[in-house]
């Protein structure tokens, strides 16, 4: 018997069939063309439309080049897979790099399945179509925001392990390779479940002789023993974690269904290949059939790629990216260009205006359909990481720090929470703690430069004070202490009381009154503007004063400031323009001039406020 031929009786590999070289070469060419098309499709689509996905995923993890970080992933099966995935995710700061990485992984998946086809001796034309199926499905899954690279790595690793353990060989070699299952389980975690079933399916379909039953029995026993060993001796993890991590991490996510579907395809792959061989053996024009099938697959993939796109979410994430980069002009430009009906978009718009000091003079240039709810987001699990920026902007640095810390505890370090921790610790003057976080961030690839910039401020209060961003926040701090409450309008009021010079907080208060259409209260507040250093009223406040005068016929105490003539003229123009328009609200909305629409008057007349969406009630703050 030749070396490597194996025992024919016990051989599990599929029988070989002779193929004509010309057909083989043509098939290979078609295969290359298909995969080239797939890669072009992947790179192009992800480069153009994957930006928001890459941005979100990159911001949901922070890969740290340190032993401590590595060790965290060693303590559970599948941890190293997630570690490898996080390593790749750090390059997602660029959608181009991201698209290259994902495309490379999809290519790798294709190669693994191609090799599996070869090992299964798949010869039907349909099998060349089937080999593309997993890659196309992976590309489709990549349109999801929660589909991280470690999933693809897990599937690839499962395929590779299947290839290794089913490679032709003698019984002893097979037992040894199958006996390495504990290693695979440690590396792949719950992907091992897929492998076990895949292996069983394979053995039942392709197995021959005694090994057909002995190897699956051996694997089942070994996996059972491995699980017990891991559970009772090696890893301090609950049973559910040992069984389902990292594949089925989210219990109630629709991703679980998609992952299950893909796992099903993987598990049944040997059966599909076998069935394809049988089913297509009687088809006369196999190349044509194969080509048609591939065309259908590509068309369907293309269709679903665009169907799965969520431009609204992409817009929000694009704005969010600008918020993270503190590109306030860009946030304002993006929002005014494509106003969002989403509260997050409106919140970011108001935040950007506040950071620019233009909240009360520009807020009605953009859509305001959530009323004062869009000034601060609820501090619930979903929105906390976004809600932080309001507290930071207004001068409630303690609360921004508090929330950033809570997020760090819940999710580990993420770029934005550690950056917020560093900034707030520097503002507060806790340099030793800031240094610790800076040292962490310095061990990352993409944020090192950022960390070095702030490292220079350590133990140098003068430098912190003179920094436009941090110094500005120091001046917004309350002079006297108070406890933060769940009602953010109350927090702003308390901050205004404890730091009367905080214009940011005052403008937030005025913005709330404007959005609540509370003309009476606005009338009481306007006298404070001059004392706060304003030489004239912000545009929308003037508009509100004019409205108040128009409604009540009385002038409020303006505290020494005047209403500009321009505002009076604009008011007259607004009403004259409005008179010329007739019909429904929608018709007026379409017909009204932009200059008239971007006013408090328009908001006062036509603006509708949504109810308290997403605002939580009084939290129980009991700790025992």
């Amino acid at each position: 018997m030749k070396k490597g031929q194996g025992n024919r009786k016990d051989d599990l590999s599929a029988p070989s069939k002779r193929v004509f070289p010309a057909i083989e070469a043509g098939g290979r060419f078609a295969g290359y063309l298909s995969v080239a098309l797939l890669i072009v499709l992947s790179v192009t689509y992800l480069s153009f439309f994957g930006e928001s996905i890459f941005f979100l995923q990159e911001n949901n993890s922070l890969f740290i080049f340190s032993t401590d970080y590595f060790q965290k992933f060693c303590s559970e099966p599948g941890g190293l897979l997630v570690y490898a995935g996080n390593f790749l995710t750090q390059f997602y700061f660029s959608s181009f790099y991201g698209s290259l990485i994902v495309s490379a992984l999809i290519m790798l998946a294709y190669l693994v399945f191609r090799r599996i086809n070869k090992q299964l001796k798949a010869e039907s034309s349909l099998s060349s179509f089937l080999v593309l199926l997993p890659s196309c499905l992976l590309l489709l899954l990549q349109t999801r925001y929660d589909f991280y690279p470690y999933y693809i790595l897990g599937f690839i690793l499962t395929g590779l392990w299947f290839l290794i353990t089913t490679a032709p060989g003698k019984g002893t070699r097979r037992y040894i390779l199958t006996g390495l299952f504990p290693l695979f389980y440690y590396l792949a975690g719950s992907f091992a479940l897929i492998y076990i079933i895949l292996y069983l399916v394979y053995c039942l379909i392709y197995g021959k002789g005694r090994l057909r039953y002995l190897l699956p029995t051996f694997l089942i026993l070994l996996s059972f023993l491995t699980f017990l060993l891991f559970k009772d001796l090696v890893f301090l993890q609950p049973v559910s974690h040992l069984l389902f991590y990292p594949l089925f991490l989210y219990e109630y996510s629709s991703l679980t269904e998609y992952l299950s579907l893909f796992s099903g395809v993987l598990i049944l792959y040997p059966l599909l290949i076998k069935s394809a061989d049988v089913a297509t053996s009687k088809i006369k024009f196999q190349p044509l059939f194969s080509l048609s099938a591939k065309l259908v697959l590509f068309s369907l993939t293309l269709f679903l790629l665009f169907r799965n796109r969520d431009p609204g979410a992409a817009d929000i994430l694009r704005i969010e990216r600008s918020v993270y980069n503190r590109e306030w002009d860009e946030v304002i430009r993006q929002y005014e260009k494509s106003p969002s009906s989403n509260i997050i978009g409106q919140y970011y718009y108001n935040l950007a205006l506040s950071e620019k000091g233009e909240l009360c003079s520009r807020m009605f240039y953009g859509r305001q359909s959530f009323g004062s709810l869009s000034l601060a987001l609820a501090r619930d699990d979903e929105q906390t990481y976004r809600a932080i920026y309001f507290y930071y902007a207004v001068g409630l640095t303690g609360e921004a720090h508090h929330l950033a810390y809570e997020l760090m505890v819940q999710h580990g370090f993420r770029p934005e929470n550690i950056k917020m921790l560093i900034k707030t610790e520097l503002i507060i003057g806790n340099y030793r703690i800031a240094e610790r976080y800076i040292n962490v961030l310095k061990k990352t690839m993409h944020y090192r430069k950022w960390a070095v910039k702030y490292e220079k401020m350590l133990y140098k209060p003068d430098l912190v004070n003179s920094d436009p961003e941090l110094g500005g926040k120091i001046r917004l701090l309350p002079a006297k202490d108070f406890f933060v409450v769940t009602d953010d309008s109350r927090n702003v009021d308390l901050l205004s009381e404890e730091n009367p010079g905080n214009r940011r907080a005052f403008e937030y208060r005025m913005a709330r009154l404007l959005l609540d259409k509370d003309l009476v209260e606005i009338g009481k507040e306007v006298r404070k503007f001059k004392a706060l250093g304003y030489s004239n009223f912000p545009r929308h406040v003037e508009e509100a004063i004019v409205s108040l005068v128009n409604v009540t016929g009385e002038f409020p105490d303006l505290g020494g400031l005047m209403i500009s003539k321009d505002t009076d003229q604009r008011f007259l123009r607004y009403f004259s323009d409005l008179k010329s328009l007739r019909g429904s609200k929608a018709q007026i909305e379409n017909g009204i001039k932009k200059a008239d629409k971007n006013t408090f008057w328009y908001y006062l007349q036509f603006g509708t406020m949504k109810s308290a969406v997403g605002k939580g009630g009084q939290a129980d703050n009991s700790i025992y």
Binding site: P238, E406, N439, L477, F483, S622
Partner: protein, 499 residues
């Protein structure tokens, strides 16, 4: 043959490199004295250490490409360590020899730094005083993030003080990520302890050396869950306080969190009868009582007490006094309250009373107001001589928070939480105690990697000495949590004031 020849040459080359590196310091032409102590982290200079402590590894924060460390015991045993990364790690066995040879005397560490082109610098020797009294071999503490409300992973670990062995006692991921707190030992005994778990697997878990029993102590008569346990030395009773505790967040940067009680009362659990009973007040004034602590003879229950707060109270005006009441352990009845330390008159507040095993000294934490000293930067440890009543601030305090503390079984060592490192995370510090006037300079729990504290975000909570390793682990807790909890009964005590 040829292959082995190459290997030989490679080995010689490697040996040469090592020798060259090792001899580098000898190439310095001269040695100049620094005239000061070297900066080492953690700062172990002048500390008093037990004769059975793990190696006090440290990091040298001085300039130098290479360092030579010579450790010399009092009996002349010497150990030389060369390092180029400024990290000094003592081999455990040789460290033990150094300690053995220095008992009752001091261990001297000479550090010399070498830099190319400059004369070597020799620093003043770092001396550590080695006491004759050993410390208990294990320390048990909770490891968690020092902040706010959230937690994910939380664990209680037992750490060998004689080496760097660290063994998990409790890991919350095995119990539905429940919160765990207040581990408490009866007289430092690893076979007699309890801890609380809050959440789906909630209850108080008692360990008797063999079995872990999950018990639900909260009865309808109690206002809230039982917390802050204190074992009666007989092992029959455990005193608790039942507190409604809330937290608020400060907006000025000086402080982070304020944790305070809205009400709290003392209760006692009779372990033998599985019954809870109240520790009622006779006074017409309604008080909040917390942090119970038994005297080692079991005749007194010490605790902290303040007047019951009313709605809209000013949290900064809540001041706890140190109070005690007598206890008849055969009857299970209490006597009248007597104030031991009137903190209110000093405009201060007391927390965490802890009495030395000989019953002579009581250490407590004193801070400006309230009950949760770990978030009070001004919190310091104070000592009362229970014989003379003399009270004084301990010399082991720092400018940062000193809070929870406990005694070793021989009463010679005190472990306490201190935030002196960074102002945020608490680390366990050990101080040698002979008398109020003779307390050694404290040292932080030594770590195998001395730079650990610089990057560890977690805090060490409630450090407690134990006289051996606990024979239970996370899986035992997981198994116990699956069983139905034993429910404590309630006993109405009508004669609580007979004494």
């Amino acid at each position: 043959m040829k292959k082995s020849g190459i290997s030989e040459r490679v080995l010689i080359l490697i040996a040469g490199i090592f020798l060259a590196a090792g001899c580098r310091h000898d190439m310095a032409d001269s040695v100049s004295p620094a005239g000061r102590l070297p900066v080492i982290e953690p700062d172990y200079s002048g500390v008093t250490i037990p004769p059975n402590i793990a190696p006090l590894n440290f990091k040298i924060s001085e300039k130098g490409m290479h360092f030579r460390i010579r450790a010399t015991s009092a009996d002349g045993t010497a150990l030389i360590i060369n390092t180029s990364d400024a990290i000094v790690r003592f081999p455990v066995k040789q460290w033990k020899k150094l300690l053995d040879g220095s008992q009752g005397d001091s261990l001297r560490i000479d550090i010399t730094s070498f830099e190319k082109g400059y004369p070597a610098i020799k620093y003043d020797p770092v001396c550590m005083i080695v006491a004759r009294d050993p410390v208990d071999p294990f320390l048990c503490y909770r490891l968690l993030y020092p902040g706010y409300r959230s937690w994910v992973d939380m664990k209680i670990v037992q750490r060998s003080l004689e080496d760097f062995g660290e063994y998990p006692l409790f890991e919350n991921q095995l119990l539905d990520d429940n919160c765990v707190n207040c581990h408490s030992f009866n007289k430092n005994n690893p076979d007699r302890f309890l801890l609380h778990v809050r959440g789906s697997k909630g209850g108080t878990y008692f360990f008797d050396g063999k079995n872990l029993t999950r018990t639900r102590l909260k009865t309808p008569e109690m206002p809230a869950n039982a917390v802050y346990p204190a074992w009666h030395p007989s092992g029959r009773y455990v005193a608790f306080s039942s507190n409604k505790t809330v937290q608020s967040f400060h907006m000025r940067p000086e402080k982070n969190i304020e944790v305070y009680d809205l009400y709290s009362s003392l209760f006692v659990y009779d372990v033998e009868r599985n019954e809870m009973f109240a520790c009622p007040e006779k006074d017409t004034v309604k008080y909040m009582e917390t942090f119970p602590c038994w005297s080692p003879d079991g005749k007194y229950l010490y605790f902290c007490r303040t007047a019951q707060v009313k709605e809209g109270f000013d949290y900064m005006k809540v001041k706890y006094d140190l109070v005690r009441k007598s206890f008849d352990q055969t009857e299970g009845t209490f006597g009248n309250d007597e104030v031991v330390f009137d903190a209110l008159s000093l405009n201060k507040s007391v927390s965490f009373p802890s009495i030395s095993p000989d019953g002579r000294y009581l250490v407590f934490t004193l801070h400006d107001y309230g009950t949760f000293s770990i978030w009070h930067k001004e919190a310091d440890l104070y000592l009362i001589d229970l014989h003379s009543g003399k009270t004084g601030r301990m010399t082991i305090n720092s400018n940062e928070t000193e809070s929870y503390h406990s005694w070793s079984s021989n009463g010679r060592w005190l472990v306490f939480s201190s935030k002196r490192g960074d102002g945020l995370t608490a680390r366990p510090y050990f101080a040698y105690f002979v008398s109020p006037d003779s307390v050694g300079k404290p040292f932080v729990l030594p770590q195998k990697d001395p730079s650990l504290y610089g990057r560890l975000e977690k805090t060490f909570n409630r450090p407690e000495f134990i006289t051996g390793r606990i024979k239970a682990g996370p899986r035992d807790f997981a198994a116990a949590s699956d069983k139905e909890p034993l429910k404590a009964g309630w006993k109405e005590k009508t004669n609580n004031r007979v004494k």
